[in-house]
Amino acid sequence: MTGAVARRYAKALFALAKQENALEQTAEQLQRMAALVDDPAIGPVLRSPLLSTERRRQLTQTLARDLSLSDLLARFVGVLADQQRLNQLPAMAEYFQLLLDQELGRVRITMRSARPLDTQQQEQIVGAFARLTGKQVVPAVAVDPELLGGVVVEVGSKVYDGSVRTQLERLAKELGGTAAL
């Protein structure tokens, strides 16, 4: 769950990016920067309290140059470094993505299945959820053999469960009440 601080920063960045008509670009670069902050080799250094503010700013500017971040995002990361909010960057990127999806009328879904879904199956599911939500669907695919069969689709906080595992659990409850799988 995204915190209030991360949401405030993300909203501010979103408004600025929208003014500059660079929403998609900012979102993509923010994702890359967030991945860097989450990186176990670089993240702890960036978040270290032993690092001086000046040194942290220099470091983030170097990273911004290396990642070819936009001027807006470079300044934004600099502010986060000054305010020691870099640890909130992944949450900000996530909320920014949500705002962007809402702005563009998109919805992100995660499809989990016991076997890899072929293209046709993915398209069928994407199409179904596009019709269900009335939005453009951005899919993510994952394979989970524990599902045994079928598919589970997560849309935001909602879960559509068509897995064999869940059907077996439901059947077991109906038959035996407390039978544990």
Binding site: L117, Q121, I125, L132, G162, L175, G176
Partner: protein
């Protein structure tokens, strides 16, 4: 009491003395008048008259008084005996009544004791029946609970085994066509 006896003794002495004197006189006179038979008769008659007079004058009142006294004493003794007899009769009647009362009390006590014993027996029997019923009910409940628990355990075991078998079957036997069918079923449920 002492005075009449003294008087009686005195009268006896006088009578004896009178009699002896009269006899002595009669004897002396007999010598003198042996030729006349009326003399001794006269003296004997006088002697008897004196003797009777002495008896009547001095002895009879004492005898009469003694007899009266004796009679009074006997009457009192008889009255006391009668009173004692009446008291004894009263006591006997009282004790007879007490005995009758005691017998009646004993009978009543026996009846009451039998009644109490009967009541106690009934109470004990009722309590025993209640206890037995409670034990039976508890046992039935416990047995029913055990049966139900066992049934649930058996059912749970069966379901667990069935699910495990189904899981194994799903892992090994599900084909791509099955997978496609699951997805199609899922889409049918999701589609508005």
């Amino acid at each position: 009491m002492k005075r009449p006896v003294t008087r009686l003794v005195l009268m006896a002495v006088l009578a004896f003395a009178g009699s002896a004197l009269a006899e002595e006189a009669a004897h002396a006179h007999a010598h003198e008048t042996a030729s006349s038979p009326l003399g001794p008769l006269l003296f004997s008659t006088i002697n008897l008259a004196i003797f009777i007079w002495i008896l009547a004058r001095y002895v009879m009142p004492s005898v009469r008084e003694w007899v009266h006294h004796r009679r009074t004493h006997v009457v009192e003794a008889l009255e006391q005996a009668a009173a004692a007899k009446a008291e004894a009769l009263r006591l006997r009647e009282e004790w007879e009544q007490r005995l009758v009362q005691f017998s009646r009390s004993v009978e009543e006590m026996q009846v009451q004791a039998r009644r109490d014993a009967e009541r106690e027996r009934a109470r004990i029997l009722e309590a025993a029946h209640k206890t037995a019923a409670a034990i039976r009910r508890d046992a039935e409940l416990a047995a029913a609970y055990e049966v139900r628990r066992t049934q649930e355990q058996v059912r749970a075991d069966l379901v667990r085994q069935a699910v495990r078998l189904a899981e194994q079957a799903a892992r090994t036997q599900l084909t791509a066509a099955d997978h496609q069918r699951f997805i199609a079923e899922f889409l049918r449920q999701v589609e508005p």
